[in-house]
């Protein structure tokens, strides 16, 4: 509270008091009191009045500062009323009571919304689990049906094999969509349940490729891997999902000769100013020789629901893949950067947190 705020708040009161005292002074002057006495009276009154106002100002200011420092110290601002000190006067008391009623109903609404969100998230996870069992069964049936036609008796029947392959590709697409729903539910929840463990980047990459093998082969994608035999500390299941999104994008926005390169390298970063203590990060780069992203769209690729001109042209893009990647990467403290040259390719770099940094999580 500034001084001008304080005085503007009390302006009417001050004018009234000044008018009263001036009227009294005029009356005294008319009834024959000496002007010196009146001047003395006025100066004394002004002095006491000023002292009182200054005292009042400081008291109000300290009170407000104390309250706002309580507010600053709170993570959940709506819990403010639980922490306010005792009211100093009736006016404050009434105000706090009103605040308390409002906050209570707010907390009720917040916890209801939270419970509803939690229930919905649990339902999505359960649903994903349930829907995946028939998908797995269908995939197994597909695979087995293919093996049966491979018998010598069924020689030359190449068409069932083709249908089986297409079916199994569609099934893995369904699986990928369902998986995205699951990770969406996870990424949006406040308590992100992941498990940081030592993991081999090569194994993570192999698992992600295997999961999307049908789509990648059908799209005619070639994959090159270099230097993946490195150890990272992260939740491998989440990273497999993220890599899967990148691979699906590479297959989707491919050029005539699709090539995806997965390569890992160490990047060093000085801990202190003199550069003696260094931290080594593992950086995984996933780059494709696809159609790329126009430069002006690049800053928005991680935005939720952003499909860009490529997505609009090809149709069927959801704009969720990279958004989810970013969300999950933020939770795992993986740095995610995108670069692209339109018509030449798209490249994502994932910087995994160093072992030394993990204690902060």
């Amino acid at each position: 509270m500034t001084i001008s705020e304080f005085f503007s708040d009390r302006l009417s009161r001050i004018i009234l008091q000044a008018a009263c005292i001036l009227a009294t002074a005029a009356l005294l002057l008319l009834t024959g009191t000496q002007s010196g006495i009146i001047a003395l009276l006025l100066i004394t009154w002004l002095f006491i009045f000023l002292i009182l106002q200054i005292f009042d100002y400081y008291k109000t200011r300290t009170r407000l500062e104390a309250l706002s420092s309580i507010m600053d110290g709170l993570d959940e601002k709506y819990l403010f009323f639980e922490c306010i000190p005792r009211a100093e006067n009736i006016y404050e008391q009434k105000l706090f009571d009103l605040l308390r009623i409002s906050a209570k109903s707010m907390i009720g609404a917040v916890s209801d919304a939270r419970a509803a969100g939690q229930e919905y998230r649990e339902y999505v996870e359960r649903w994903v689990h349930e829907i995946k069992t028939p998908i797995t069964a269908a995939q197994l049936i597909c695979r087995n049906a293919g093996a049966e036609t491979g018998h010598p008796a069924a020689k030359g029947q190449n068409i069932p094999g083709e249908i089986r392959r297409k079916l199994s590709c569609e099934l893995s697409q369904i699986d990928a969509h369902v998986e995205r729903a699951l990770f969406y539910a996870r990424a949006e929840s406040p308590e992100k349940d992941f498990l940081i463990r030592q993991a081999n980047l090569a194994e993570i990459a192999a698992e992600a490729i295997r999961a999307h093998q049908a789509l990648l082969i059908q799209s005619g994608v070639r994959i090159e891997t270099t230097g993946l035999e490195k150890t990272v500390y992260t939740d491998s299941k989440w990273v497999v999902f993220m890599l899967g999104q990148l691979l699906q994008n590479a297959a989707r926005y491919r050029s005539d000769t699709p090539l995806v390169t997965l390569s890992a390298d160490y990047a060093e970063h000085a801990l202190s100013g003199d550069g003696t203590a260094r931290i080594r990060y593992v950086q995984l780069t996933v780059s494709d020789k696809g159609i790329g992203v126009p430069a002006h769209e690049l800053p928005r690729v991680f935005d939720r629901g952003f499909t860009g001109s490529n997505g609009r042209r090809l149709g069927g893009s959801t704009g969720m893949g990279l958004y989810l990647c970013k969300k999950l990467a933020d939770a795992l403290e993986i740095g995610l950067t995108a670069s692209s040259q339109e018509g030449k390719g798209f490249c994502i770099t994932m910087t995994f947190p160093a072992k030394e940094k993990l204690t902060k999580m």
């Binding site: 087995n144 190449n158 392959r165 498990l195 999961a211 093998q213 070639r222 090159e224 299941k237």
Partner: protein, 239 residues
């Protein structure tokens, strides 16, 4: 009472590895058994969940696939008992962190979240089997060299020989020829070949396959076997 479903195959039983499937969903159980059979394993399923350790004791599998969430069963105790008999791959039903932790502490050799991706599952099975010692010998015995139509392929040395001549093969050529030789007489489609290579982490495309195929053919011609690999138009290759 014991109920057993044993899938017999034409191949030699003793070289095949036995995998026991403990799973309560009947569709998945039967299809999984068929999948493993097609992959060249000897699969057996359990339908009576009361006497699992006893059944495993009798069947003596090389590997057990165990669903941790069997109705009315404590998966962890079961896992510990089965682990004494053979390596165990645990299948967890829900893929939340708690389930993952549970699977990690179950003492199993590996775990996979259900529903599984089939290539991932097969890779995990192969990895666990390779790790357990007794399988190392069988693998050496069965897969050191392949012989078809006077062509002999040594997998460990990576070279093909016929008519007293030898040609050295690259990694891709070796894998392609090995797949054709193990399916001698059958038509192998290009997609089949690509899938086989992808499962061994060689991620090639159609053009690369053509290049490898041409080189492989010219090498085979060099050791006196021209036209060994026939092209079946619109269908694939045949040895």
């Amino acid at each position: 009472m014991l109920k057993w479903t044993v899938y017999k195959t034409v191949e030699v039983l003793q070289a095949m590895q036995k995998i026991m499937i403990i799973e309560d969903d009947p569709t998945i159980r039967d299809e999984l058994a068929m999948l493993l059979k097609n992959e060249g394993y000897h699969a057996c399923t359990v339908t009576d969940f009361e006497t699992i350790p006893l059944q495993a004791e009798r069947a003596r599998p090389d590997l057990t696939l165990l669903d941790l969430n069997l109705p009315g069963k404590d998966g962890l105790t079961l896992c510990a008992a089965l682990r004494k008999i053979a390596p165990v791959i645990v299948v967890t039903s829900r893929n939340s962190t708690i389930d993952e932790l549970l699977a990690l502490h179950s003492g199993s050799d590996d775990y996979i979240t259900k529903p599984y991706n089939i290539p991932v599952l097969l890779a995990r099975i192969r990895a666990v089997l390779r790790r357990s010692e007794n399988t190392a010998e069988t693998e050496n015995r069965t897969t050191d060299s392949l012989n078809v139509n006077g062509l002999s392929l040594s997998l460990t040395r990576g070279c093909a020989s016929a008519n007293g001549q030898t040609a050295e093969l690259t990694r891709n050529e070796l894998k392609i020829l090995a797949h054709l030789m193990t399916h001698a007489g059958e038509i192998v489609s290009r997609t089949d070949l690509i899938e086989t290579l992808w499962e061994q982490q060689i991620y090639i495309d159609d053009n690369t396959l053509s290049v490898n195929m041409t080189r492989l053919r010219s090498k085979l011609e060099g050791i006196g076997l021209p036209d060994l690999i026939k092209t079946r138009r619109g269908m694939g290759y045949q040895l």
